[in-house]
Assembly symmetry: none
Homo-oligomer: 484 residues x 2
Amino acid sequence: MGSVRRSNSASRSQTTSNWEVLLELDVHGGGPLHSRLRNALLAAIQNGRLPPGTALPPSRKLADDLTCSRWVVTEVYGQLIAQGYLEGRPGSGTRVAWSDRTAPQPAAAAQASVPVPRLDLAPGLPDLRAFPCKEWVAAIRAEAQSIAPSDLGYQAPGGHPRLRLALADYLRRVRCAHAAAEDVIVCTGITDGLMRVCRALASAGLGAVAVEDPTWPRLRRAVATCGLAPVPLVVDEEGLRIADLAAHPEVRAVVVAPAHQYPTGALLAPARRAALLDWVRRVNGVVIEDDCDAEFRYDRPPVSALQGMDPGRVVLLGSLSKRLSPAVGVGWMVVPEGWIDAVHEQSAPTPGPSTLDQLAIARLIETGSLDRHLRRARQRYRARRDALVAALERELPRCCVSGIEAGTHLLLTLPEGTDESAVVFEAMARGVRVWALGRHRLLGAPAAPGLVIGYGNLPLGRADEAARELAAVIARANSRAVLN
Amino acid sequence: MGSVRRSNSASRSQTTSNWEVLLELDVHGGGPLHSRLRNALLAAIQNGRLPPGTALPPSRKLADDLTCSRWVVTEVYGQLIAQGYLEGRPGSGTRVAWSDRTAPQPAAAAQASVPVPRLDLAPGLPDLRAFPCKEWVAAIRAEAQSIAPSDLGYQAPGGHPRLRLALADYLRRVRCAHAAAEDVIVCTGITDGLMRVCRALASAGLGAVAVEDPTWPRLRRAVATCGLAPVPLVVDEEGLRIADLAAHPEVRAVVVAPAHQYPTGALLAPARRAALLDWVRRVNGVVIEDDCDAEFRYDRPPVSALQGMDPGRVVLLGSLSKRLSPAVGVGWMVVPEGWIDAVHEQSAPTPGPSTLDQLAIARLIETGSLDRHLRRARQRYRARRDALVAALERELPRCCVSGIEAGTHLLLTLPEGTDESAVVFEAMARGVRVWALGRHRLLGAPAAPGLVIGYGNLPLGRADEAARELAAVIARANSRAVLN
């Protein structure tokens, strides 16, 4: 529709002076027609191109000219009148009411939208098209109708009591966590939670925190931002090599994802879980458990949270980012009694997620809506994973697929010598987004090159296409490597 | 101080049963005395060691026993009364009001709803009953129905482009700010924005930031949390005394509220605005402009934001907390070009407000809904202010009312020698919440005692009742002071 509109209005660009204005912003494209019309008018008014007093076309006429519904025009006029940019005078139509001599304004730049890849296989994202919009709106509506005025004041420190209680119940039930409401602190996500814990650790005098290698780059960055040195420890097929902690006597805290390591997909072996808890007791330290997507597991029994085995020494971090959407910006931490004051202290000054959102999430948990969403998502992800694994094994028989038992991504090991960055770059140029394994590494590890491929947003029928595209790009990268 | 406290209370541990309770938690140590006292009391109440109905020592006695200021005790009692753990009964002192029979299953603790004072005159809150729930739900619904799946992924750094654009438009139009969308960073509130700026300043090597005195305690705390020394500068009736900056050559940044200082209500005088801009250019520094409620002004023409006069040296901070509700958790910063990368860097790891909320707010701005809400609120606040000022002048002719030209609070100066903490505490015991001026001061200022009284939530018909209650409490405090 957008392009039709554009050529349409372009063909009229000579006829009236207002059209020029519209045309200019139309090119910035994107969004529904009424926003584009509004932006165009706004820009023109702000640039002084439509000086105060200028009469605008009657809505019917403009709608005809744009071949759009008259609603679009009256809506835009109405908005701009409400904001004081236009004024509606009975009998004399709509006129510009606003001017700003100081403008040359580059505002439109920020509107330029980020292009979306044709096949977005970036890891760490849930199925964005499956976000339960209807349930979300219903929950917000129900909570807004019943919210106590006092809940619209400053947020309760640590989160709304109702959400803390709902999360404690949920985590006890689903993750075997040992959590009461007052152990739970609501935050904006795992990184936010990690930073609050790290600031508490730093103010208690710790200087270093061990992190998995490879792992999310943002977790390492969060540790460093808080003034702590991230100490990388190698992850193998049994998860983090706990024994390596012995080489770092200065380390008393470690960030670990026992249920599903990212990006390797490893499960921390039972012996290592025990060794980790031994270690943390011996050094009187803290384990920070990253539990980002434990509900998505397909071929193995559920693994309970480590936190339940030693709630006095393990901080449990989780979020809705992979369970629902990162856009929601809600996470949680279950904090040992000995640390909770310090973490509250670090959390105190800034607010968390909107109270209405917190209540809506509490409602989604209380009503079982989140459970149902997760169950549906798990089924969908399993089918997508099966399709992608089958397609990759067919198209790329020389590459090894691993880490597929859980989560929403897998690891594709590339043939020795493949330039993974080149593969990622060329795939993106073909509209396929994947991540290089290398960006997750801190140690200059001798491990093989690889791709981290998310399938949360891969429609079932397009797994073959994705595998073929990747196979083509990988083949090209390798043939070039042979030539060089 | 901590160790004195501990041995002191230890020596009394045999005398009354309550002391044992205090002792136990004191050992967990850390934090200011009032938090330790609060925690000790809370724990004792939650453990059932202080069953409902237990009378607590009068604040004066407990303060004597602890050899601490009486403020510490009244503050803690006041907090716990506000939270429903204690109740203050006139004539019979303070008693435990809370019990949990299911303890040690402590989940219910988090649920205990915070009782709302009968008359909540805490400053800094908008009219919570006027939150536009319907418009909010409609905006969320509209945005949820049209949101692009990519907007449900990880949040755009700095905020959603559409909200940044809407805010830039709004701030240009309403605050005469000099802002394009890319200068705007969405954050969770003024404190969050201040902390991001302070972290950027700290990493650029600054060591101190000047703050107004008196001001919001949380602003000072935010500065200190970022590792910067807050340097208090006196505020008089013309606003911050800019000339005093000369005595602090180490200071190159200052937090100031030129349009409406909190809590004095002062407007920064034109000559001082000019002097501030001179200063910031001379020291090549940064002015951090707190613009929290500039739209609410009644008896004077609108004052434009300082930022518009030197956008290269002024950071503009604002939020919806007083314009809509603190529960929404949305604020903004307009950052000079020279600082924006550093502030983005400090903001990078953690998400901001939910993307759907950001889009809903953009819609409220675009459609003029926020404008209409603010216009209605302004009318309501003006009427409430007029009623409260008239009632206070009638009931308390010896007290001076000031700072009434703008905002949603006023300052009531108390007769010399009045114990403002006692007034606040006893008012709370009678269901009226106000704030002591003293808690806003960093300097041991010689200024007169006072109350900061918000009228955002004061129903029009209850101004007389509020003034009468305060008059009674103040009279009692003063008659006691005379007796002592």
